[in-house]
């Protein structure tokens, strides 16, 4: 019953998406807006089908319906309820179902949000593109990755249960759905980008209108990645949180492109520049999500032999190829004709800073992609295996990270169009001294090593510069009567908070990786050892037996706190035993305990691995700041008049001021930046934000 219900849901969604594509295409060809308006019906049907299929799958899981092959492989009678529910996305076919459900939800949200412009061909094209993507994923579910395939042969009495590592921690309920909310969210901006290119209307506000969608998708992806790192830290037992392995890189690549896009779209909003570049970034982000899914799902990188195991690999790769060719082809076709007029005047300006920012992020993405794909390249050409591991990535991305920190400090202080060195110098003096003093304090405190010192110093510089912007913005908001809190919301100020989060994470990364230390202590029950300044006491061993888990735990007191319970656990019956770590976290450092060796005889010594890493808790705190900043940035700012000044005062006579004529003895006039030309059907492109925190005007001499 579940299989039939689920399969019918999938088929309904597939049929609705295909029909929607056909109807919209016909409506566009014949210019019949009434057909384009019916898109909402098909979107609703796709969502209905996805919901039915999901409900069927969850029902099958919860009632332990082992007639479904997926349930038999990923669920068992002894699996707790939480892991039964999350079992839906613990394997391939179910995760595609989750993707389809989230995609359907996004499509309905998009259709609803733009319902008043449903007759616009551009919106119709965007809906068409999203329905094509939906058709692909539901097509996968109808065929090769069928979550509702039934078992061949007799129905087993009990299933195998999910992968042991997926039963260990409740985070499995959050990490994949949030990650998918991020990945799938990029489909909407991609659809609008393609629609803009196809219709040739890229001068309007569509990209800006979908900016908030990109921001939300980016926010979810950020949370998903941070939670993934946290989960890996808590569960996998090696004490690290980021291993640069292909699955992690696959999720990081779209994040890098999306971050670059969120920055450069501001240049488009303000100056109308970089339109084609922004479209390319959006298309690249979506392509990378598909490539990432392919890399993760086909196993082509981690184990080349697993490629032939799943049929879905070639299809995903084919889809990636089609999307890449289509996107690149559209850009080639339209790109040159739709180039924006005007250009960047000076590198020393906010536009210049965003350009350098994009350069660095794209270089970062290139490094990550190259490192991930290189072993395949090498094996294909030389026949030998080579590993590109964490040392490569760390070495390559360290300078990029430091450069980005520096840019984060300078960028917010840079005005638009152009500025003088003295302006920059005046604005950044205090933050620079903060950074310098932090370096001095660290060196005095015994910190050694250019890389961590550089990270700490630049991080402090950036934090002070961004904090300065927030303070100025709050002050300005209060002065203009809107209330100081206004100075903390809106795109620019949310961005400052996000930068603060990035600084915190960068500092934490530098500290944890440079000064982490791994050791081992061998203790008998009741003995005490000291490791890296922490007192480790083994109380005793304990045996745990619950239906879900059998484990041998070591009860350990760390600095008198505890007891912590690192263990060797077995989840379910007849499964491999895995080490489960225990962590004592504080603001200063994390003590990470694992059971490395159980005693050979009862009462014998236990070998406990002790890893001490400073500032790990700051990583998660920084993640919270990132999310907070994204939420703040999503708050719509007050509608700013396009002619409000956004650049720094340029003293009269220093530049050929086109607006007022040089040689004027009048007060310095801010350079007015006109908004981008073109219609903006979705509201003024320069939609309010408090991006230009009013800088203190230098006092006039009497």
């Amino acid at each position: 019953m579940n299989a039939a219900l689920g399969r019918s849901g999938v088929l309904l969604a597939l049929a609705a998406s295909v029909a929607g594509v056909a109807v919209i295409a016909y409506g566009l060809a014949r210019k019949r807006t009434d057909l384009a308006r019916t898109a909402r019906v098909y979107a609703g049907l796709v969502l209905a089908g996805a919901v039915v299929a999901t409900v069927a799958m969850q029902r099958a899981l919860i009632t332990h319906d082992f007639s479904l092959a997926f349930v038999a492989a990923n669920n068992s009678r002894s699996t707790p309820l939480l892991y039964t529910i999350t079992g839906m996305w613990s394997a391939l076919a179910g995760s595609i179902l989750l993707w389809g459900l989230i995609l359907a939800g996004y499509i309905v949200a998009m259709v609803w949000r733009f319902r008043r412009q449903a007759a616009d061909p551009l919106v119709a094209w965007a809906t068409l593109v999203t329905l094509v993507v939906a058709a692909f994923f539901f097509g996968l579910m109808a065929g090769p990755a069928d979550p509702f395939a039934t078992v061949t042969g007799p129905v087993p009495g009990n299933g195998l249960g999910p992968n042991v590592l997926l039963q260990d921690n409740p985070l499995v309920a959050f990490h994949p759905p949030l990650l998918y909310l991020g990945f799938v969210g990029f489909t909407i901006p991609f659809a609008f980008a393609v629609a803009s290119l196809v219709t040739g209307r890229i001068g309007e506000g569509w990209q800006v209108a979908t900016r908030r969608w990109t921001l939300f998708a980016w926010g979810f992806l950020t949370v998903g990645i941070v939670l993934g790192a946290w989960w890996s830290y808590q569960v996998l037992g090696w004490g690290g949180f980021w291993a640069w392995d292909p699955v992690e890189n696959a999720s990081f690549l779209p994040w890098l492109c999306a971050t670059a896009y969120l920055h450069s779209v501001m240049v488009q909003e303000r100056r109308g520049l970089l339109r084609v570049w922004n479209l390319s970034l959006v298309i690249a982000t979506f392509c990378l999500t598909i490539l990432g899914t392919f890399l993760t799902r086909s196993g082509v990188i981690t184990s080349v032999h697993a490629f032939s195991d799943s049929d879905i690999g070639p299809l995903l790769l084919g889809f990636f190829g089609v999307v890449l060719a289509g996107g690149v082809g559209l850009i080639a076709w339209r790109g040159d004709r739709l180039r924006s007029p005007g250009g960047i005047d000076s590198v020393v300006s906010r536009e210049g800073a965003f350009l350098v920012n994009n350069l660095l992020f794209v270089l970062f993405a290139f490094v990550v992609l190259l490192g991930t794909v290189f072993p395949l390249l090498y094996e294909a050409f030389r026949g030998q295996q080579v590993t590109v591991g964490a040392p490569y990535f760390n070495a390559m991305t360290l300078p990029i990270g430091l450069a980005l920190l520096l840019l984060m400090a300078i960028g917010p202080a840079l005005p638009w169009r152009k500025t003088t060195a003295s302006t920059l110098r005046d604005r950044l003096t205090v933050p620079a001294w903060v950074g310098a003093l932090v370096i001095v304090a660290c060196v005095a405190g015994g910190v050694r090593g250019l890389a961590p010192l550089g990270a700490f110093g630049l991080g402090a510089f950036a934090a002070a510069a961004n904090a300065r912007q927030l303070v100025l913005s709050a002050r300005g908001a209060r002065r203009s009567g809107a209330g100081a809190w206004r100075g903390l919301v809106g795109r620019a100020n949310g961005g400052m908070v996000v930068h603060l989060g990035v600084v915190v994470i960068a500092v934490a990364l530098a500290a944890a990786t440079s000064f982490g230390h791994r050791g081992e202590v061998t203790l008998r029950p009741g003995q005490v050892a000291f490791s890296d300044g922490h007192r480790i006491e083994l109380v005793r061993l304990a045996f745990v037996r619950t239906p879900a888990r059998t484990a041998t735990e070591a009860l350990v007191m760390v600095d008198g706190h505890g007891p912590l319970r690192p263990a060797v656990s077995q989840f379910g019956a007849n499964t491999e035993a895995v080490g489960t770590p225990a962590i004592e976290s504080s603001l200063e450092d994390d003590v990470y305990l694992t059971v490395d060796a159980l005693p050979a005889a009862p009462g014998g010594p236990v070998t406990i691995g002790v890893t001490v890493q400073p500032l790990v808790a700051w990583l998660w705190g920084g993640g919270v700041l990132l999310v907070l900043g994204a939420l703040l940035a999503a708050v719509p700012g007050r509608r700013r008049r396009p002619t409000d000044p956004v650049s720094a005062p340029v003293p009269a006579g220093e530049t050929g001021d086109p607006g007022g004529g040089s040689g004027d003895a009048g007060p310095p006039r801010p350079v007015v930046v006109a908004p981008a030309p073109g219609r903006s059907p979705v509201g003024t492109e320069a939609r309010g934000d408090d991006e230009h925190a009013p800088e203190p005007v230098p006092a006039r001499s009497p």
Partner: protein, 193 residues
């Protein structure tokens, strides 16, 4: 804006094809990437190319599960099949009956010998595993994993075929069958004659 458009019309003509060129380059690179990812490596499913192939086989000496001792050097002059296994790995369980069949087929003295090495397993578990499947060949205990290290074993099951002169002829990764072992033996013997 009209005046500025006129002023920049000439350079516009020169730059007209930038996007097209860049797009072309990306398309070519992308196609190469897709082609690369679409082709699987030109190796058979289980043969592994490691540096040990063609080199002298590292010595295997130590206590066996049955209580005796074993030394690979004593088998010099015979073809030897070295099999790293564990009781907890499903492919090892899968290949064990095949190995039993192989051992039986080559039971005459002087014929190819079969040796097992326990990989990261308790001696008792490995012993009962072998007994339950009827395996009777010597299985060497590798308490600190040094034997596995010397042979570059990443994870069980891995099998090596050693020639009578002591060099490693082939390194197989994954569960083997009696037929495939015979096939490799024939190839190896041909290669040496």
């Amino acid at each position: 804006m009209t005046q500025t458009e006129g002023a920049t019309a000439r350079p516009e003509l020169r730059r007209r094809h930038t996007a097209r060129w860049v797009a072309g380059v990306i398309l070519v690179v992308g196609a190469a990437l897709v082609a690369l990812l679409a082709t699987s490596p030109p190796q058979s499913a289980t043969e592994v190319d490691t540096p040990l192939v063609g080199q002298a086989a590292p010595d295997i000496a130590g206590a066996t599960l049955g209580g005796g001792s074993f030394d690979l050097a004593a088998l010099r002059g015979r073809w030897v099949v070295v099999n790293f296994f564990a009781s907890w790995c499903p492919p090892c369980q899968q290949e064990e009956p095949e190995l039993v069949a192989f051992a039986y087929a080559h039971r005459s003295p002087g014929d190819a010998a079969l040796v097992g090495v326990v990989f990261d397993d308790a001696a008792s578990s490995a012993h009962s595993f072998m007994q339950s499947t009827g395996a009777s060949w010597p299985a060497v205990i590798d308490p600190d994993g040094q034997l596995a290290l010397n042979y570059g074993v990443r994870g069980p099951p891995e099998t090596f075929i050693v020639a009578p002169d002591g060099t490693v002829v082939v390194h197989l990764d994954g569960p083997v069958t009696a037929a495939s072992l015979d096939h490799w033996l024939v190839l190896a013997k041909q290669g040496r004659s």
